[in-house]
Symmetry: C2
Subunit: 202 residues, 2 copies
């Protein structure tokens, strides 16, 4: 009802009065009825969507790489044999938690990256936009809290690990990279929260 | 420009078509020019604001109480003398971090509660609504991440503390209550994020 009301007002005004922001927002919502804007809308979507999608894809890709490095640094260090003390991350429950958190964020980022590329290639076939926005918002929040929790635990566990253990350097790298992943996910959370708010309000 | 456009459409329709949600949203925005809605708006604000404010105040009050309990349980346990081992939370850097995080969230919740009561008593004098929305959103996010980080660290430190230490029970209580505070702050974050989005978009 309200969407149609807005559209009527826009149609009555001269085109110079339509700001690019409101044009963007209208191009992202499905029109329930055929409108005079729907033909220009299809071309407008192609030109306006990629920059937003591209920044989202870059952030997802960064999260993917960082979470992979975080998990890999723990996994690779535990394969070094020869030390008399146990030096696998699986011997410390805190490090196992960090490893699982990194792997979960890696899988989630890979899924989001796949979905983003799929959406650009052929729009709206994988999952619906509405469900995707809700899911992204909730899972981004969960991923952010999981990462800050796991990197805090990793930092605490650095103090406990024997200074001569071969795993120490790997844990430090993992904690730092995990925190960087957290920062990337926070930006993703803000973006997906903004998208969800636009969907709820409009 | 867009706000005025919406208002024109609303004014042209019969009043039955105006949904309560859009009436709420319009009552919260300042009108740059005198409008036929401004008289009914003042009374509408009085009737629509308190429920939203009340839920926010209840959440802030809960966060205040829980963060106080979390900090108190650590502080009170450290005053028990007589144990040969060090049993003050200040001897463990992890517990000191948890204590500081709880105190910071307590101070922040007290400020938000004070501001909420002040806003109901006499509107918009303490700080501007715009600045308040941005500040609440950012600080709620920071408080949430701080609390999940500190409660994760507290849970890890439970494993390290000597089972016979008198502080153990206090740390368990503090970790649980800190996690509950985190859940309350997450709801506050969602509310303040929604408020901020409405402000940005409208």
């Amino acid at each position: 009802m309200k969407q149609e009301g807005e559209m009527f007002v826009v149609a009555c005004r001269p085109m110079a009065a339509v700001s690019p922001v409101s044009a963007n927002s209208q191009s992202q919502q499905p029109f329930p009825t055929p409108s005079p804007f729907s033909f220009s809308d299809a071309s407008a979507r192609l030109s306006t969507r990629p920059p937003v999608y591209l920044s989202n894809l870059i952030l997802r890709f960064l999260a993917l790489v960082f979470s992979f490095v975080s998990a890999l640094s723990l996994a690779a260090s535990s394969s070094k044999k020869g030390s008399p003390r146990p030096s696998s991350f699986a011997d410390y429950s805190e490090l196992l938690y960090c490893f699982i958190a990194s792997v979960l964020v890696f899988v989630y980022s890979a899924f989001q990256l796949f979905k983003g590329i799929w959406d650009i290639a052929q729009r709206g076939i994988l999952i619906s936009d509405m469900f995707s926005d809700y899911m992204s918002f909730i899972l981004d929040q969960v991923a952010g809290y999981l990462l800050i929790s796991s990197s805090s635990v990793a930092i605490v566990s650095i103090q406990q690990i024997d200074k001569t253990a071969s795993i120490l350097k790997a844990v430090i790298i993992s904690a730092i990279v995990s925190f960087v992943t957290f920062l990337v996910i926070v930006i993703c959370t803000l973006l997906s929260g903004y998208k969800l708010c636009k969907r709820i309000i409009w």
